[in-house]
Amino acid sequence: MNIGILLKEGPYNHQASDTAYKFAEAAIKKGHTIDAVFFYNDGVNNSTGNMEPPQDDRHIGNRWVGLCQKNNVKMMVCIAAAKRRGINDDVLIDCGEITGLGNLTDIAIRNDRLVTFGD
């Protein structure tokens, strides 16, 4: 089954980001394809490459990069939401792609499921 994910909250402040990751991981383990994670609202803050969490904590940015590099999950960041919040290509994580809401529409259309995580 092909699944898209819409993530609406930023890293660390809300568990949404963690749940989305754990869900994606489990879906892949069960043989499904995660087509893309689309970051919207404060969710765009997941796409900064500058996170430096304490060493004993999870690294949310690196987790998204890993999901992308190992499992070909697209990491798409809404350009309008990103611009107002100060996310641009200078800070973007590897694999991140700043793009329009048209791509979210395509994700919604071409996948069997769109699963939203937020707060």
């Binding site: 089954m1 699944i3 609406k8 568990q15 949404a16 749940t19 754990k22 869900f23 991981e25 489990a26 879906a27 383990k29 069960k30 499904h32 499921r113 769109l114 699963v115 939203t116 995580f117 937020g118 707060d119």
Partner: protein, 97 residues
Amino acid sequence: MLHTINKSPFGSNSFETSSRFFQPGDPILFIEDGVYTVQADNKFSKILAEVQQNNPVYALSPDLDARGIGNIADGVTTIDYEGFVELVEEHQVNSWL
């Protein structure tokens, strides 16, 4: 349709509102702070029991464990992330935020 609820019922009206929209047979999955809803013997136990008459109710066990909720309401099925995926295989998803 699978309904997920991720807010504590004490702080937010998500559970009470969403329950007006559930169709008979729709599975309900509590995640994140939403899992406090299924703790046994709290203020919301009665509404939960009513929902359970028409809807199968699930709660995400990693979230229950994280919050130290061991004593949960009768009839609630605990599942892990894999179980969450299985529900999504069967249903479209409506995430109440």
